[in-house]
């Protein structure tokens, strides 16, 4: 039997059209991309801004090295890094506390203090036991005093200079003069690639990020649209229309129409988002290909996991149906907004828990508990898609997960339908649990 009778279609149409035409839809559909682009833009702007600030206001770095361990080398390194630096002979005999009080009257914006004791310990160069700006007192720690807050760019420069100067000093002490420390300290990086049974290679980091993104998105969608279902059902009761409705169609038809109608709104919204992001991605990748290449990201090596994307869609749909059924059943037991919060809470928890679990699963996607959670309905809509992206999941696992989820969707629909049938005509007091259980048993 086709459940989508013309009257169910009419309910779906009404829910869809009314919501898509609403201001809420316009704001949230366009608002999210704007928000993301805006936040990204803001972060970029701030980063650029602080970098320019650092460049504009030239700072003078004084190097206090009473023992003369690496002071000259440091100044050389700073100058090579186009930073103003001089030996701070006038500050060398001061303790850190004294230097601190005198810093503002001095000609230095920053004062790097190499303790006298630093060189006493064998095979140890200044700054190696601790980074800049940490601790106080002459316990062998190198200290960076600063008049104003230190921009992270400067802090990085100081750290680098200190490191290179130490290496050079050490090389010099064993008689090596001519090696460029920059070559010794060349940054190394490597990529983790998962090789699946089929030989497909995956770059782990990108997919981890992707699977977290997916999990977060699912979490967000299930929560928002689940609550919308409750609102949609509450609307029936609050507008006193429900009795007219159930005289024209079966309660389950009404419920189905509401769930599918609200779901269709979700799909429409996601389609718009997908389109916007696809356009942005095409534009961004074309424009930023060279930047990405510099950063060592080779676009050609990123295989789009179409299989996982298709499966993900099924998990999203099934997950939505599972939670929507529960939200619909809950919505039928109440008559006002205040009670809505209370009945939604347990279901919301059922979405939050899998989301939290997903964080762990992404780190070790093949751990036993992760595999089990990805099979358990309620968890599987979030955990399985995360695993699909983070690792290669055997066919039997996602198939079993999907089948189990499907069974639970039907079960939830049946229970929700029983609750809905009686609950939808109730007014006033929220139904209590024994009442609801009786409805489920007897209908």
């Amino acid at each position: 039997m086709n459940p989508f009778t013309p009257r169910v279609a009419a309910v779906i149409r009404r829910e869809f059209v009314l919501r898509v035409k609403s201001k809420w839809f316009l704001l949230s559909t366009l608002g999210l991309p704007v928000l993301i682009v805006g936040l990204g833009g803001l972060a970029g702007f701030l980063a650029v801004r602080s970098a320019t600030d650092a460049g504009e206001a030239r700072r003078v770095i004084g190097v206090a090295d009473p023992a003369g361990l690496i002071g000259d080398l440091l100044v050389e390194e700073f100058l090579a890094d186009s930073l103003d630096a001089v030996r701070a002979a006038d500050m060398e005999e001061l303790s850190i506390d004294e230097a601190r009080t005198r810093l503002s009257d001095s000609s230095y914006d920053l004062l790097l203090m190499i303790p006298r004791s630093a060189g006493r310990r064998s095979a140890e160069m200044p700054g190696e036991t601790a980074g800049a700006n940490e601790g106080e007192g002459d316990d062998g720690r190198t200290t960076l005093l600063a008049r104003a807050s230190v921009p992270s760019v400067i802090e990085g420069s100081v750290r680098g200079a200190l490191q290179r100067a130490s290496v050079r000093a050490r090389l010099r002490s064993i008689g090596v003069q001519s090696i460029d420390p920059g070559a010794l300290l060349q940054r190394t990086s490597f990529e983790v690639i998962n090789v699946t049974e089929s030989g497909e290679a995956r770059s782990q980091d990108i997919y981890r990020a992707l699977s977290f993104g997916i999990a977060f998105f699912f979490y967000f969608v299930l929560l928002i649209y689940g609550q919308m279902i409750v609102r949609a059902i509450l609307e029936e009761k609050q507008s006193d229309i429900v009795e007219i409705m159930v005289s024209s169609l079966r309660p389950w038809e009404l419920m189905l129409g509401k769930i599918v109608g609200v779901g269709a709104v979700g799909i429409a919204q996601m389609a718009v988002w997908a389109l916007i992001f696809a356009l942005a991605a095409v534009y961004g990748l074309t424009a930023g290909a060279s930047t990405l290449a510099e950063a060592g990201i080779d676009l050609a090596s990123i295989a789009v996991p179409w299989g996982a994307l298709v499966l993900m869609f099924f998990f999203l749909i099934f997950g939505y149906l599972l939670y929507a059924g529960m939200f619909a059943g809950a919505g039928a037991t109440i008559s006002n907004e205040h009670d809505a919060q209370q009945v939604m809470l347990p279901i919301t928890m059922l979405i939050i828990l899998p989301f939290i679990a997903t964080q762990g699963v992404i780190q070790s996607p093949n751990a036993g508990w992760g595999v089990i959670l990805s099979l358990v309905p309620f968890f599987s809509p979030l955990v399985m898609p995360a695993r699909l992206f983070a690792t290669s999941v055997p066919v039997w696992q996602w198939l079993a997960s999907l089948v189990l989820l499907g069974v639970f969707v039907l079960g939830a629909a049946w229970v929700a339908g029983r609750i809905f049938r009686v609950g939808i005509l109730m007014k006033g007091q929220r139904a209590n649990l024994p009442q609801v259980l009786r409805w489920i048993r007897h209908g």
Binding site: D240, E243, M426
Partner: protein
């Protein structure tokens, strides 16, 4: 199969030919047009500890305007809901147009519940079209009828306004249109006139009678017995979940007999001191209302009055009102005929 058909009077109406044929076939299958529009047999419904309907038999002939009367909480709404298959009876059977499958008959029924809201955010036209679609109309057809209907009740210029901007009276019109848009063969109305402004009461009665002329059966419930008395050919009286009596209003009144007399006279009222004839008297000066003892002959009283020398200007046998009959019968049966504070909400 489709076309314009001129009915005996009034405007031409658009008839959905295919639907008409389905109806004809349905009637043929059932075999007789004489089956009642609604038949209840032994219907019983109980909510927790409260008996809502007790062993109710009911037969509502096709084409009649039928009133279900009784105080609030008597079980009227529950009875209507059972007829519409919104809730199932604990025992007994319901046939609509001869079929126990009420579900299949829903497109032929229009229901106006006592609680009759509208989706506030929809325009009037959209809203009515939506109701029409739920009743099986195609969207285009439903939209066209919605516009025609709104025009007919004087809401043509507000057709594309959201319902939330409507006054109470306008919303009432829209609600009523929603019930008759698909031209149902059976109208079920729960307290249709309660809360209506007087102009709308008249409009609704007019629209109801139009539907009846088009062959529809109308079942309405009301606690205002006078309303039913004016509008309905037949009534069923319910009190305390139990049927008190039912039948033609005319027959019920005839059976109740004429025991009340309106009497105006000048002269000595001693003839009224007649315990062998009179049960009760309410005197208003020279105008007196007299209730005769059961079986007593009004003519005997008239003779005594004339013999006493009183000058009689009026002596009229008054038909008892349905209300009086109802109260009498309910009291006889030991049933509560007062409004109960509890209402008959569905509470399973």
């Amino acid at each position: 199969m489709e076309g314009w058909i001129r009915l005996s009077e009034g405007n031409p109406q658009y008839i959905d030919g295919a639907a008409a044929w389905r109806r004809v076939r349905a009637v043929r299958m059932i075999g007789a047009v004489n089956t009642p529009a609604i038949r209840l047999r032994g219907v019983t419904k109980r909510f927790d500890k409260k008996m809502a309907v007790r062993d109710l038999d009911l037969e509502i002939p096709r084409g009649s305007i039928y009133g279900l009367i009784g105080p609030n909480g008597a079980g009227k709404t529950t009875t209507l809901r059972i007829i519409l298959d919104i809730i199932g009876p604990d025992a007994g059977s319901v046939d609509v147009f001869g079929s126990p499958n009420v579900e299949a008959m829903r497109q032929r029924i229009g229901y106006l519940p006592e609680e009759r809201g509208l989706y506030q955010k929809m325009t009037a036209t959209d809203h009515l079209a939506f109701f029409g679609q739920l009743k099986g109309l195609k969207r285009k057809e439903a939209l066209a009828r919605a516009r025609t209907g709104l025009d007919a009740v004087g809401l043509g210029d507000r057709a594309d306004d959201k319902v939330e901007t409507f006054s109470k009276g306008m919303a009432q019109k829209a609600q009523f249109l929603g019930v008759i848009l698909h031209q149902p063969d059976l109208l079920v109305l729960d307290e249709p006139f309660s809360g209506l402004d007087p102009l709308n009461v008249e409009l609704f009665k007019q629209l109801l009678q139009e539907r009846q002329r088009a062959g529809a059966t109308i079942l309405l419930s009301t606690h205002l017995i006078e309303d039913a008395e004016r509008l309905c050919e037949r009534v069923c009286m319910i009190a305390g979940a139990t049927k008190v009596l039912d039948g033609r209003v005319r027959d019920i009144k005839a059976a109740a007999g004429r025991r009340d007399i309106a009497l105006s006279f000048e002269g000595n009222p001693t003839f009224l001191d007649a315990p062998d004839l009179i049960e009760d008297i309410s005197a208003h000066g020279t105008y007196v209302e007299v209730r005769m003892l059961e079986g007593a002959d009004p003519q005997a009283l008239l003779r005594r009055a004339v013999d006493s020398g009183a000058l009689i200007s009026r002596f009229e046998l008054i038909e008892p009102s349905l209300r009086q009959i109802f109260i009498e019968k309910a009291t006889e049966a030991g049933l509560s005929h007062e409004d109960e504070s509890e209402d008959d909400e569905a509470a399973a």
